[in-house]
Amino acid sequence: MTSPAVEAVGLSKRFGTREVLKGIDLRIAPGRVTGLVGPNAAGKSTLIKIVLGLVRADLGRLAVHGETLNGKVDYRRAIGYMPQAAKFPENLTGREVLRMLQDLRGADGGLDEELIEQFRLEPELDKPIRTLSGGTRQKLSAATTFLFRPSLLILDEPTAGLDPVASGIFKDKVRRAREAGATVLLASHTLSELEELADDIVFLLEGRVRFHGPLASLIELTGLANLERAVASLMRENGA
């Protein structure tokens, strides 16, 4: 069996008195799209931030591509991260942001500028970020996420700020990345989007994994017609 793209063992984290993750065990299979669902404050963002090294776990172990993190930074070369709301320095232009990221990461594998083209970002790239609309910034953020052909994509509510056309383009891009072998970790409240894209579902509730398996088996398990009803039923069962 190939090693998991992300492996968490007994991962725990508390912020002050609030226990956000309560011993998470998880193996994210490589080359698949895993949807991360759960109500607000279930621990999705914290889990993502631990994978990125932005938050340190109190207990437990986390490995990305078989390498335990322990304060290492180089593993992030393989990661493309799209936060919920990207904020770039206001006075820089989009092109300067792209150049900066390129500078920091190197671009040995060649750049993937497909989204810049499809979102028609080219004419926006020379304007200061502060003059760009929220949607355009989100498109820029999406473009930077795929720019370095990452093998692990971490997307946190990626389509929240995108219009339907852009959202469609984005989802197609995720599909193509998966076909090319990338692993995708997708946190989203938009269940229809997960239904479209996800192979597997991880359902988090109050800091614990309540379900992890193929999307189809979740729907089958609950005997309900779609993901939305299945997730709602899981939440009811667990008293959320």
Binding site: Y81, K87, N91, L92, M100, D103, L104
Partner: protein, 263 residues
């Protein structure tokens, strides 16, 4: 190029277009030119400039620094999600923030002085101390800004704390020292006052510069004590070391916090 240097480079790209920073430079330019024009240059101009440096530089550094760090939060997060280590990020942020502030200060104070030095004589030693004090105060109060922005999650609280720090060091401290002198006037106060001065970088800057002029004699008995202490090489060295500790200490604590922080 090191990772820290790359972070610095892009911060400079951002900050040279920052309006606050431009405003800071223009205000310093205006004030310095006005003081030179009104005061006629020479020692008196430098002494008047001292107050500008001691009040404005800490205020601008601590407020601008704190504000910048709160505004850059998401961006710091984004960079830390890249293959960028935390010490490199911290160093890059600090240098990238202090370098434009130091340049703004140097330009705002230095340019008018340079121009006026053609016609009037400027005491070089005093000028060097003035510039060095301004640069060190920039480094110190930006480091303090890092501490505050890391300590307070809430932006309004952090900015409030920054204002309080400035008030305490640049305005209230002297009043407190005066109270101490009044309350304990019957006791020998030279050593406690020396220590109190070493504990406040703003006071330290003031004493260092005033001692370059004859007016130190006007500061009475304490002035004489200061003159004896700071006037010789050992005193100057002590003061410089104290100021450097004021730079290094907050930075060391800041780096510790930055490494452990959850973003």
């Amino acid at each position: 190029m090191s990772t820290a240097a790359k972070v610095v480079r892009f911060q400079l790209h951002d900050l040279v277009r920052n309006r606050w920073l431009l405003g800071y430079t223009i205000v310093l330019l205006g004030l310095t030119s006005a003081l030179l024009w009104l005061g006629g240059g020479g020692e008196r101009a430098i002494v008047s400039l001292l107050d500008v440096v001691l009040i404005l530089v800490p205020l601008a550094s601590v407020m601008f620094g704190t504000l910048y760090l709160y505004n850059a939060r998401e961006f710091i997060e984004l960079l830390l999600a890249q293959p960028v280590g935390r010490p490199a990020m911290f160093a890059g942020l600090y240098v990238g923030l202090t370098a434009p502030l130091v340049c703004g200060f140097g330009l705002g104070i230095g340019l008018p002085l340079l121009i006026s030095s053609v016609t009037v004589s400027i005491p070089v030693r005093a000028l060097i101390i003035l510039l060095a004090t301004g640069i060190l105060l920039t480094l110190i109060f930006t480091a303090v800004a890092f501490l505050l922005a890391l300590r307070f999650e809430d932006r309004a609280r952090g900015l409030g704390a920054a204002l309080a720090v400035w008030l305490a060091f640049a305005v209230l401290y002297d009043g407190l020292v005066l109270l101490v002198v009044l309350a304990f006037g019957d006791y020998p106060l030279e050593s406690p006052l020396l220590v109190l001065t070493l504990l406040n970088p703003v006071d330290l800057g003031r004493v260092l510069l005033l001692l370059q002029f004859d007016i130190a004699a006007l500061m009475g008995y304490t002035g004489a004590v200061f003159q004896r202490f700071f006037g010789d090489a050992l005193g100057m060295a002590t003061a410089t070391v104290a100021l450097l500790i004021w730079v290094v200490l907050p930075l060391t604590i800041g780096l510790r916090w930055f490494r452990r922080r959850d973003f």
